[in-house]
């Protein structure tokens, strides 16, 4: 094939990388969150959303379960829990 190959912006969203998670997934307790936004800032997938304190959540259809959000949360309000193989991705 000749010439440039182009793609439509943001089409990677078709690729549901949530299926990559093997052992654990983050759980957002939404109890002691102070709204510092550190999780949102550092998630390598950019799949966390939220604004006010106790509103942060990730999109499990993309979350790869790396655990960085749980490590960085200063209030330990995100914990890694066992991946339930029966639980469907949201």
């Amino acid at each position: 094939m000749y010439g440039p190959l182009t793609s439509k912006p943001g089409t990677s969203k078709n690729n549901k990388t949530g299926s990559w998670r093997i052992a654990t997934r983050p759980k957002y307790l939404q109890k002691n969150c102070i709204g510092c936004k550190m999780c949102l800032l550092v998630c390598p997938e950019g799949c966390i959303s939220g604004n006010e304190k106790n509103t942060f959540i990730c999109d499990y259809s993309y979350c790869k379960g790396c655990g960085i959000c749980a490590m960085i949360c200063p209030k330990k309000d995100i914990v890694m829990v066992k991946e339930e193989s029966t639980e469907k991705d949201k």
């Binding site: 912006p9 990677s12 690729n15 549901k16 990388t17 800032l41 950019g46 959303s49 960085i68 749980a70």
Partner: protein
């Protein structure tokens, strides 16, 4: 999901420091940005054809020529009278920047193009299987600098890329780290407020090539800074204007977190050599906090 200019669904390894930093960079630069990318993990994981994670115009041509292609993009914009308000970023990994693409980068810096060049420094050629580059640190175990009975890994120190960029007499040179997310975004915004060529080098841990658990990306990056092994500095018009000061931790704390340095842990002689590199950085850039907090 909140809006980012690098979308989810990209295929970087879980916990990849480069994917984290690249999103911070493009989010800080904003929608009016044209990105030119060298070949490497970032290019591969963000553009699995026919998909792309980019929400801004983005071009890939070769391993070594993002700086040259970006120079063309910037020149065309200037010719059309459209450069104002449009940021141009050229970016690539450490191999593409410090080795094969150094000539193109030097040309871009020397010709004075209004471009921010970003080097994502994961300290080896990761996309092809962890071969050493000019930015691989001393004593690192890589597939082309293996540990043997007579060798403790890479025999050369890191190439001083920030100094090489600075020697071109450009307006802004900065180092940054995936362990300091807000600092990355502040530096990108500052770079974009300055006309002319800018060089930024971001330390981006790679769980695969450095061999640590993906949840530790942030911690590993911070330790590199906190030991003095990866100084965070800013040069403006040749002068050192910004330094993140530290209360230096021993280099072992950084080394022991990673499989690529595992062979050093029972080898105090070799660790001493790495401590000497950190000490030289601390001295050179005056990294030590003068008055520790709480004194």
């Amino acid at each position: 999901m909140s809006n980012h200019f690098l979308s989810p669904g990209h295929t970087a390894c879980a916990g990849c420091g480069q994917s984290l930093a690249a999103r911070l960079v493009i989010d800080a630069s904003g929608p009016n940005t044209i990105v030119v990318n060298n070949t490497g993990c970032l290019e591969v994981f963000s553009t699995k054809y026919p998909e792309t994670a980019w929400e801004v115009p983005w071009i890939h041509s070769l391993f070594e020529n993002a700086a040259a292609v970006a120079s063309g993009v910037e020149s065309a914009l200037r010719y059309l009278g459209k450069k104002d308000g449009i940021n141009v970023i050229a970016q690539g990994g450490d191999g593409s920047t410090a080795d094969i693409g150094l000539q193109a980068l030097s040309g871009m810096l020397e010709r004075g193009h209004d471009i921010l060049y970003v080097c994502y420094d994961n300290e080896a050629y990761m996309n092809t299987g962890v071969q050493r580059s000019g930015l691989t640190p001393f004593n690192t175990n890589t597939s082309t600098s293996p540990v043997t009975n007579s060798s403790s890994g890479n025999i050369r120190p890191k190439k001083p890329m920030p100094e090489i960029a600075n020697a071109h007499g450009i307006a802004y040179v900065a180092t940054a780290s995936a362990g300091f997310a807000q600092d990355i975004q502040r530096k990108v915004k500052k770079a974009m407020s300055i006309k002319g060529p800018k060089y930024m080098q971001i330390h981006v841990p790679c769980p695969l090539g450095w061999r640590y658990g993906p949840e530790l990306t942030f911690e590993v990056a911070k330790l590199a800074v906190d030991t003095g092994l990866y100084p965070l500095i800013e040069y403006e018009n040749g002068k050192l204007t910004g330094v993140r000061q530290i209360q230096p931790k021993p280099v072992e704390e950084y080394l022991k977190a990673q499989g690529r340095f595992k062979h050093l842990l029972n080898n105090p002689e070799e660790i001493k050599k790495i401590q000497a590199i950190a000490d030289a950085n601390i001295e050179k850039y005056n990294l030590r906090v003068v008055k520790p907090e709480g004194n």
